[in-house]
Subunit: 204 residues, 2 copies
């Protein structure tokens, strides 16, 4: 719960007085993305000009544009959800709720919408985003599922990746791929309950 840039962060990044520059750079990236500029048009030069710093100041902190973008995107991400740990079901509801909330945020944020729409055309950025944002969340779900299987809450005859896609896929599609689809507050719970119970008739 340390404030960003304070303590170890500052030590890692170098001199504390450079924090103002770093903040300006991050804010410049956010501002340019919010304008809806294509990612390809946001050069290091333009970021430097917007932030009022030299290009060297940016390159001292980030190897390239992709690294800077991913760093900014990670900042914007909400923190990992707190898992209740009471059951696989409860933990999965919390994970799906975080996907739902990200979908809502993306719909209301010009920045997130802009970035998300363009990211797949920028493979290096997409790969970095997957590695730093998507994969860790995926690992959390896999861990919940493994625990659930071990405790007998989830059937043990399906591979873990299949379980993951069956649980997370419906909410991802609803929240990310179908921007007009409703995202009601009880959706995460309804989805998890339905997937655990199955769509066949109760007697099946």
């Amino acid at each position: 719960m340390t404030a960003p840039g304070a303590g170890t962060g500052a030590a890692r990044r170098g001199r504390p007085r450079s924090e103002a520059a770093e903040r300006s750079i991050r804010e410049a990236v956010v501002a340019l993305l919010e304008e809806g500029l294509p990612l390809g048009d946001i050069s290091i030069e333009r970021i430097a000009r917007t932030a009022g710093v030299g290009k060297a100041t940016i390159y001292r902190r980030w190897a390239d544009k992709e690294e800077l973008f991913v760093d900014v995107l990670r900042d914007i991400e909400p923190p990992d959800p707190d898992l209740p740990g009471t059951s696989a079901r409860d933990d999965l509801v919390v994970m799906l709720e975080s996907v739902r909330l990200r979908g809502l945020a993306q719909r209301s944020s010009a920045l997130l919408h802009n970035v998300r729409a363009q990211m797949k055309s920028h493979p290096r950025l997409w790969d970095a985003y997957v590695a730093t944002v998507i994969d860790p969340r995926r690992a959390m779900v896999l861990e919940i599922l493994r625990r659930g299987v071990a405790r007998g809450e989830i059937r043990d005859d399906l591979d873990i990746d299949l379980l993951n896609d069956l649980i997370v896929g419906p909410m991802l599609v609803r929240a990310v791929m179908r921007p007009d689809a409703p995202l009601p507050g009880d959706l995460a719970e309804r989805m998890v309950t339905a997937v655990l119970e199955g769509l066949g008739p109760p007697s099946a």
Copy 2:
């Protein structure tokens, strides 16, 4: 099963001798997309030059670039799958199999990969693609689900959109959103079976 451009198609489109021009135009769009050009860079002018026709020849057939792109994309789409009609389960497996095959096609086709990655940045094109390609397939799944509910093959206490996302979401995520994920031949059947049976333990 009429050949494209023959019979009523030619009558609808005008003089038969314009078919060669239309084919050249479609082929030009495919060629430019296969080169991986950004959609924004493929102007009507460029298409006309590549096809060796005048711009007016294009505008006589398509109102604008988006309409032409969608027309070409629809041509490339495989035909609607034939449903066996034996059960909701069997029909759903066939629908998911068509999503799986589209995922495989997209991975191996520079054109489909290029278009899909960029489409979301071009809202008019995306909307047209949804209306002409995605929505009809979605309507097929909804119809299968309604029949399945009516016949008692699928539980009747969940809304149809939720059922749709629970069934289709996992394959969409695997085939489209996670380009490195495996797409084995039995995946459609495994997914449908698992969703119908539920992920909870068999005794649940």
